[in-house]
Amino acid sequence: MREITYADAIREAMSEEMRRDSRVIFIGEDIGVYGGAFGVSRGMLEEFGETRVRDTPISEAVIVGAAAGAAMTGLRPIAELMFSDFITLAMDQLVNQAAKNRFQFGSQGAIPLVIRTPAGSGTGAAAQHSQSLEAWVCHVPGLKVVIPSTPYDAKGLLKAAVRDNNPVLFFEQKLLYRTKGEVPEPELSEDHIIPLGKADIKRSGHDLTIISYGRMVQESLKAAEKLAGIGIDTEVLDIRTLVPMDRQAVIASAKKTGRVLIVHEAVKTGGFGGEIVSTIADSEAFFYLDAPIKRLCGLDVPIPYNPGLEAGVVPSSAAIYTSALELMEQRQLMQGAT
């Protein structure tokens, strides 16, 4: 397979779906000539023209609301929010309109809508441009939520999201945009659809499970590599789709290893990690646990500007490694206690 970047994979997914289905349109701020703040849509205006690649004013609420209205009436819009921090400006449209309109109208129609938006810290953009807010939208029935960790997944999941008949929040990881990975040749793309709701074992192991998503999967894989060096065999489960979540996969892996570390960049308190912990703690996997279920997450602070601080407040492969070791030790403690 060829290697392309995460950003390219996203552009390919959008472009292929737009070629396939003329109902798919793309709206957002500076997505046309500018190609999006992160260059993801560069060239799309040239191919699809201004009726399908539509620059908007700086008006996040109506971007999402209009996309929802268009979706209710037969189009299949992809809307881009330039930074995921800006979903704050469109929460009514997302939560009270897009997520609920089908249900509250007695399941009339459908709202096939994708909201793509870059998330995460690491770019020196400080507190209002660096958040990981996925937990909020996971708490809203009617929405689906996807966060890919590789170019392969990004492409396959985005194509699936565009074909889904529900509003899907698609969080992209800024720091992964330029990373490369294997993705099937364009000729094989039609089949490269990754169903929403399927987790993926990115690395199989027996001693310990790390459950994560997005960029932290990459950090976890690095940590797992290092752990292997000292004889700890780590499984890395990428849940990929937060809603619907692949409960089976989570429970199965927890049963298999008996020790679980959950890693995400979002701040810990109220983060999606709690949902994963709870899924395990109230399942048959509970009876197989050899140690407490641990979360390693962003500190409960707004993301600071200074690069050292910024890196320091979110998990790194080194911190994951350390937490994993702690978890392994806790097992021994417990065995001692028994």
Binding site: I25, T51, R54, T56, P57, S59, A61, V62, V64, G65, A66, A67, A68, G69, A70, A71, M72, T73, G74, L75, P77, D92, Q93, N96, Q97, N101, R102, F103, Q104, F105, G106, S107, Q108, G109, A110, I111, P112, P141, G142, K144, N165, N166
Partner: protein, 319 residues
């Protein structure tokens, strides 16, 4: 432009249906047969009916929380509306939405919204679909005076204007947002001036004059298909409280009475009798029919089954 007697009689019928529908609904409340709340448009019927009746079936509307007249104007079935009010499975929203979320896609109603101003951005999207697919249809977005102070009003009118979308933005100005008089919520007296911020046409009409509203809406349809959106402000008044639990301390009985003298239904009735020389019998016939329609709607609703809990989980997501 002349409006035929037939059309006038239909406008009259729909206004009467609306009035009876709401009086019945209010009565159900007083009997304790309904939980929740409702917002009645009695006194404002001309706005929903005059606009809605001028539209084509494929045109879209987005209603407000005070939307019974808007729905009936667009041709929605009162049976399914009443069943929804009673939360029944046969309701237009299967009993999930209630009267704040009345919707029927089959007649172009994309739903009433419980969020003040909530329909505005959806309307922009619906009109985008119409424009993109080359349809010769328009979208009407209803909202109140209070909604024009929401940020989404500004964003929606601006985007619709930039994209020249076929939307008629219809503001039913009944002088109050809940207890708050327009003069405490904005520093202008004619809401139509707000159109200028978007270089948009804006007009203000007597919101109790259903014939004018009907005619202006027909023209607005053509206008927005050619030139992009416009704002139409209909100045009227709500007779009843904001919702069922309103003590109405914020206004005087005199003010209410004054507006009751300008009853849009009575006005049209007068025109029918005095200018169109329609026999009073014909009009009374319509009155009776309207009443019967509402009674039948109620009977239908009352006989309908309750929705079931076990099926709702499957209704959250589309396949």
């Amino acid at each position: 432009m002349a409006v035929s007697d037939t059309v006038l009689l239909e406008l009259y019928r729909k206004m009467q249906q609306t009035r009876f529908f709401e009086e019945t609904a209010a009565h159900l409340f007083s009997l304790g047969k309904v939980h929740g709340t409702a917002h009645f448009c009695i006194g404002e019927e001309a706005s929903g009916i005059g606009v809605g009746h001028a539209l084509k079936n494929e045109d879209y509307i987005l209603q407000t929380h005070r939307g019974h007249g808007q729905a009936i104007g667009k041709g929605m079935d009162m049976k399914r509306m009443m069943a929804e009010f009673l939360g029944k499975e046969t309701g237009c929203c299967k009993g999930y939405g209630g009267c704040m979320h009345i919707a029927d896609f089959s007649v172009g109603s994309l739903g009433a919204n419980g969020i003040v101003g909530g329909g505005l951005s959806l309307a922009v999207g619906a009109a985008l679909t119409q424009q993109y697919l080359g349809k010769n249809n328009v979208t009407v977005c209803f909202f109140g005076d209070g909604a024009t102070n929401q940020g989404i009003f500004h964003e929606s009118l601006n985007l619709a204007s930039v994209w020249k979308l076929p939307v008629i933005f219809v503001c039913t100005n009944n002088l109050y947002g809940m207890s708050t008089h327009v003069s405490k919520a904005m520093n202008i007296t004619d809401i139509a001036v707000r159109a200028a911020s978007y270089n948009m046409k804006g007009i203000s009409l007597d919101g109790n004059d259903v014939i004018t509203i009907y005619k202006e809406t027909l023209q607005a349809r053509d206008y927005v298909l050619q030139h992009g959106p416009m704002l139409m402000v209909l100045n009227t008044y709500r007779w009843m409280g904001h919702s069922k639990s309103d003590a109405q301390l914020y206004r005087t009985k005199e003010e209410v009475d004054e507006w009751k003298n300008r009853d849009p239904i009575k006005q049209l009735r007068k025109t029918l009798l005095e200018e169109r020389h329609i026999p009073v019998k014909k009009i009374e016939e319509i009155d009776q029919e309207a009443e019967i329609d509402v009674e039948q709607a109620l009977a239908f609703a009352e006989q309908s089954p309750e929705p079931r809990l076990d099926s709702i989980l499957a209704d959250v997501y589309a396949d």
